[in-house]
């Protein structure tokens, strides 16, 4: 392994990346009350959480580490999500949901 990356150039990189965080996250918040959104846009934004999370979660589960889509029940991440979802349907307890999902995932990785 080569030497770890360090040095002043990295300071500029960090500031640049921090700005990319700040600019994207504050973009519309900076505009504040001067902006009027249409009713349609306000309805659309209500669906931002569920749609974004679905677009994050599903590829993360189905392309687990590889380049190939794994829709089979031998996919441990799929088993884990099913375990977590079943728990979530039965009870609203979030920590239990995380624990049961991780248990199902780990068991599937060990035994499938």
């Amino acid at each position: 392994m080569s030497d770890p990356v360090a040095g002043l150039g990295l300071a500029f990189v960090i500031v640049g990346l921090a700005l990319s965080t700040l600019l994207t996250r504050t973009s519309f918040l900076v505009v504040g009350s001067r902006l009027r959104l249409s009713h349609r846009a306000e309805v659309a934004l209500r669906y931002a959480p569920v749609c974004t999370l679905s677009a994050i979660i599903v590829p993360d589960v189905l392309f687990h580490g590889g380049a190939a889509l794994d829709l089979s029940l031998f996919n441990p991440r799929l088993i884990g999500v099913i375990g977590a979802a079943l728990w979530l349907c039965a009870s609203r307890n979030i920590v239990g949901c995380l624990a049961s999902g991780m248990a199902a995932y780990s068991l599937a990785r060990l035994y499938l």
Binding site: T21, L37, L53, A55, I94, L98
Partner: protein, 247 residues
């Protein structure tokens, strides 16, 4: 600053802050695991420990950091790295538009602070409680500050733990999957109506089809497609049920 102990609105703000901290608490194991594995990845990817700590503290965006990492190690030009960060963070532009109406009356400084500390976890947690009306309506900003501060502390402690203990953290256990499960737990209760369900399905399908795109653009395309599908379904339902208000 005033004492404020007799001021009822200061008491309300403090109470809202505590409620926010409590609201994010059960999801923090997911944030912790994902933060720690990201910290490990920064060091194993080739960053020196102090610089990895500085990056975690200032950039505070796991997916952008991981996307930028190979470019940094390869010595790519600064603008390429920053552009990668911007594109990977595009979904936050949608988030900030969704938060805007709730915080429009606050000062610019407050809005920028609330925006900077927003993440996937804290944004989704906020939107759910805002829509369910389960947060003090007068002190949404304090509630969100409570959520975001807990999440920030958890993330930083876990990321720095991962950075310092990179060679001791067992990456082969797949701990980062806890983060994905926490997102499942966050989104699950919102899948209770047809527009949201259809939006989630379309978002997933498009994100899968566009998965090969660089900079997590597949995620962004999927989210946009899902939002359009959900909104159209919502409006079609509203038209079929003329009892709905609004012109």
């Amino acid at each position: 600053m005033n004492e404020g102990s007799q001021d009822p609105s200061a008491a309300g703000r403090r109470a809202a802050f505590q409620l926010g901290r409590r609201a994010i608490l059960p999801f923090l194991p997911g944030a912790f695991a994902w933060g720690m594995i990201s910290g490990v990845a920064m060091v194993k990817g080739g960053l020196a420990v102090p610089w990895a700590v500085a990056m975690s503290l200032l950039v505070y965006a796991g997916s952008a950091q991981l996307a930028a990492l190979p470019l940094i190690v390869a010595g790519a030009p600064l603008w390429v790295i920053v552009a990668t960060g911007l594109i990977t963070n595009l979904r936050f532009v949608i988030y900030s538009a969704a938060l805007r109406p709730y915080f429009a009356t606050h000062s610019l400084r407050r809005r920028m602070a609330l925006g900077y500390f927003m993440t996937d976890f804290t944004f989704v947690r906020f939107m759910r409680s805002a829509q369910e009306g389960t947060m003090p309506a007068d002190h949404r900003d304090s509630w969100f500050a409570g959520v975001c501060s807990s999440n920030w502390i958890t993330w930083q402690v876990s990321a720095i733990t991962g950075i310092i203990g990179a060679s001791y953290v067992p990456t082969e256990w797949g701990l980062e999957f806890t983060g994905t499960l926490a997102l499942v737990a966050l989104v699950g209760p919102s899948l209770n109506a047809r527009p949201a369900l259809l939006g989630a399905v379309i978002a997933a399908v498009v994100a899968l089809l566009a998965h090969a795109l660089p900079f997590k653009l597949g995620l962004f395309c999927g989210a946009l497609a899902g939002i359009v599908a959900a909104t159209l379904t919502d409006f079609m339902q509203a038209r079929d049920a003329p009892a709905m208000e609004d012109a």
